[in-house]
Amino acid sequence: MTAFLTIIIVLFIGVAIWQMVKIFDLAQVGSSNSQVATDKDNKINGYLMMGFLVFIYAITIASFWYLGDLPLMSNSASEHGPGLDNLMIISMVLIFIVQTITQFLLHYFAFKYKGEKGRKALFYADNNTLEAIWTLIPVVVLAGLIIYGLFTWTSIMNVEETEDTLVVELYAQQFNWKARYAGDDNVLGMANVRLIDIDRANILGLDESDPYAQDDIITTELHLPVGRPVLFKMRSQDVLHSAYMPHFRAQMNCVPGMITQFGFTPTVTTAEMRQNPDIVEKVANINALRAENRADIEARGQEVTYEFDYLLLCNKICGKSHYNMQMKIIVETQEEYDAWIKEQKLFKNSLTN
């Protein structure tokens, strides 16, 4: 209903302005009505250009003010996160400097040199020095960014699998996630969707004859021990999905027919993150908003109070319920992790006959 009322109001405002322009138009009939800009038009629009510059700056400041806590640039929870955030901040600062200056020049020139009858523009067609300068400056700056970016990228993507590495399979299907742990042998058993046997509860298509598969553990929550490198092997059984773990600055597509991988080391446990002042503030803010919408939220059958958790989201369009394909991630101490994993069923014990 609110939506409808809004539309009506907006519509009326639109009609009102339209009418005003028509009146303005009719009032002009007497004068030379050639539809080519006059000095007066140049002047008005020149001033509006300056006004628009102010608008651009204002919307920039407002966006920072209301939306500027930018979770993707702070409080990363993985080892490679801070380096990535640093690169992001450097790029952002650079962008904002260039944006502020060039928008100023563009709109200021549009204001300053607004046309007047009888004035002649400067015939100025070329200047090789100037052009060399603004070719070379981007070259140098971009070279720096490219080199920094490539080092960061290579160090993130080239994951060395060591003895300490925890190997976990992320398994995507419309519309949920599963995790498969390798068990005591730390080797994932062979699997293929052709081996899926729903009747026997072999839902991920593990090779039942593979000895490595016997102690595998399939879960619907992702638990990770803090400080230990984890290597995700990703599979999808139906369409493309993307495993997006924003807090860990991690994302990789899950592709049917191939295994993709991504690795990182979680550095902050869920419990610690919940104590982080920024997160405490963010959660309080969200809970205040949720309290206002209590009725709607309860009608959907959801908890009103929000508590922070790391999440794995699907970030590649995958069908009707794409918007609700998620899995909770819990980062905990090694002891807590050990205790949890001990409680889970081994694959060989989970099969039904």
Partner: protein, 596 residues
């Protein structure tokens, strides 16, 4: 390099065929009429595309709330006025398809390449008027099929405008991947055929039919842009065609180009050995150049309009041409930056980061050259000029964030979030749309012999400019908060609750911006019939189209085609009384031509 048009041209005019209504308005072979046909068709498709975006923006702002508009327009897809999740994805998909291909490729290039190439190079018509006509009618046919696809039983295509398989290949994965996707693919295949015929015609015409004196270095930048755009299209569109054909094979004839190891709805499918990543490569080999197919014509139009209305030569003509060529070349070797996290080898990611960030250099050169062209000009603030300045502004704002997205390491975290949506809408969507509007305001007198109302034009520009920033600027920040795109509702993620209010504000701006396009539509259709009659050269421009008679004639010029004696940018040249010197005016004794 000087192939002239006069041999072809001399006997074309004079003996006019008797034109019937059908040959004049429907199956016309006259480039000026075909341009108008493209424009009107593109406009109608644009209305559909924008309406769709307003609908899904409403769903994002007020998720799952009953809405009269949905009930009225979506029918069974909005039971009780609540939008269905499948149709949400379909709206997003078709909005993207329509805006990118039908409005900003065919509507923009089709209109202005057709109108301006013969008129600005001094040719009687396109090299092949017949192919030109076929090209338009194929485009019309593909538009009709695309619109029909909206009405199929199981819903229109809904796999995103990138139609990645397996989602797009398997009807059991998504309702829209049945008949809706079949029609989508057929429509696009026809569209590509249309685009190729058009592009070949543009290239041949520019190379062969330039009038006497119109050397390549005297070409207006509009023509350079259209020419290079056509070449990019010829290079890249066939690859999309092949991807579409292979997908049709996978869907209907059981091949496995893009599919392998699939278990869906309780059964294993027979597909073995294909790869969706292959499709992504083929798709983006067109998909990325497509950005420039959309953008370059807009930049060409802007170059012309900024120079004319600044009463100044475009700054750095040679650098502008070089940067168009550089962008065209680089655009074909950067497609992998859409696939950093697709599962392709990370080393390839490094290569594509390198080539992608290189493209920022010619882009920066263009932006600086536009700004310098304004410097010490005598700016005539016609609506076309406002839209051109607006284009430079959104091109900078949107282009800068490309530095983040093109960097493979940073892309990990903002890939497929609203940050991407904000980026590409500003840099190619809004910029190209501004270019199209600028072109319409500027060349409307050439098309229809009448002027658009300037006050409505000002109103249209300023509201659109504010709304465009209002929609897409805050959207970057929502993306930085990690909000994925293409979510029907965010209510399952309390994590994103603090972006909900921003989404409402964005939707408000979108609604207002959308509604104010009606001002333009009214101005456009009203002025076709009742606008003030134009003078011969209303903007006091140098290019050849303004020497052709206002009333359209087949063959463009009565008598001989004008010869060209100078480049297109002799504005405010010292030694001339007027602040413009048309290209067909000979150099006076002792006048020096600028060397490029």
């Amino acid at each position: 390099m000087s192939a002239h048009a006069d041999t072809h041209a001399h006997d074309d005019h004079g003996h006019h065929h008797k034109e019937t209504f059908v040959t004049k308005y429907i199956f016309s072979q006259d480039h000026k009429m075909i341009a108008k046909q493209y424009l009107i068709t593109g406009t109608i498709m644009g209305v559909i595309g924008v309406l769709m975006s307003i609908m899904f923006r409403m769903q994002i702002a007020w998720p799952e709330e009953p809405n009269v508009l949905f009930e009225a327009l979506l029918g069974k897809w909005a039971p009780g006025g609540v939008m269905d999740a499948d149709i949400y994805l379909a709206l997003v998909t078709i909005h993207g398809t329509i805006m990118v291909f039908f409005v900003l490729t065919a509507g923009l290039s089709g209109t202005f390449s057709n109108l301006l190439i013969p008129l600005q190079i001094g040719a009687r018509d396109m090299a092949s008027g017949f192919l030109n006509m076929v090209s338009y009618w194929l485009f019309f046919l593909s538009s009709v099929i695309m619109v029909i696809s909206l009405f199929v039983e199981a819903g229109p295509a809904a796999a995103g405008w990138t139609i990645y398989p397996p989602l797009s290949a398997l009807p059991m994965a998504q309702g829209g991947s049945g008949a809706g996707m079949t029609l989508w693919l057929v429509s696009m295949a026809i569209f590509i055929a249309s685009s190729l015929l058009g592009s070949l015609n543009y290239v041949v015409t520019v190379i062969n039919l330039r009038t006497k004196g119109m050397s390549m270095t005297r070409l207006p930048l509009t023509i350079w842009a259209f020419f290079v755009t056509a070449i990019i299209g010829i290079v890249s569109f066939p690859v999309l065609l092949s991807a579409a054909l292979l997908l049709i094979m996978d869907r209907s004839f059981g091949t496995s180009f893009f599919l392998s190891d699939i278990f869906i709805q309780g059964e294993v499918l027979h597909y073995q050995g294909g790869s969706p990543v292959l499709f992504e490569h083929l798709f983006w080999f067109l998909g990325h150049p497509e950005v420039y197919i959309v953008l370059l014509p807009a930049l060409g139009i802007t170059s012309e309009i900024i120079a004319t209305n600044s009463r100044k030569p475009i700054f750095g003509y040679r650098a502008m041409v070089m940067s168009i060529l550089a962008i065209a070349f680089l655009s074909t070797i950067v497609w992998g930056h859409h696939m950093f996290i697709s599962g392709m080898n990370p080393f390839l990611g490094s290569v594509f980061t390198f080539t992608t960030l290189l493209i920022a250099i010619p882009s920066a050169v263009k932006a600086f050259n536009y700004i310098t062209t304004l410097w010490k000009g005598n700016l005539q603030m016609n609506p076309a000029m406002l839209f051109s300045i607006g284009l430079v502004s959104t091109f900078i704002t949107g282009g800068l964030t490309g530095i983040i997205l093109g960097d493979s390491a940073l892309d990990i975290n903002v890939h497929d979030t609203y940050f991407v949506v904000a980026h590409f809408h500003l840099v190619m969507g809004i910029s190209a749309l501004y270019g199209m509007f600028a072109g319409i305001y500027h060349w409307f007198p050439k098309m229809y012999g009448r002027m658009l109302n300037k006050n409505l034009g000002y109103l249209h520009f300023w509201v659109t400019a504010i709304c465009a920033y209002g929609v897409f600027f805050p959207m970057h920040f929502i993306g930085m908060a990690g909000l994925p795109r293409r979510y029907y509702t965010n209510s399952n993620f309390p994590l994103f609750d603090d972006t909900a209010n921003a989404n409402v504000v964005i939707t408000m701006f979108a609604i207002v911006g959308g509604i104010f396009q009606l001002v333009f539509l009214w101005n456009f259709f009203y002025s076709i019939f009742y606008g003030k009659k134009t003078t011969q050269n209303p903007w006091r421009s140098n290019t050849l189209e303004w020497t052709a008679p206002i009333k359209h004639i087949h063959g463009n010029w009565e008598g001989e085609i004008p010869h060209v004696h100078r480049w297109a940018y002799d504005y405010s040249k010292p030694g001339h009384e007027d602040d413009f010197v048309p290209q067909n005016v000979p150099l006076y004794d002792g006048e020096e031509e600028l060397q490029h």
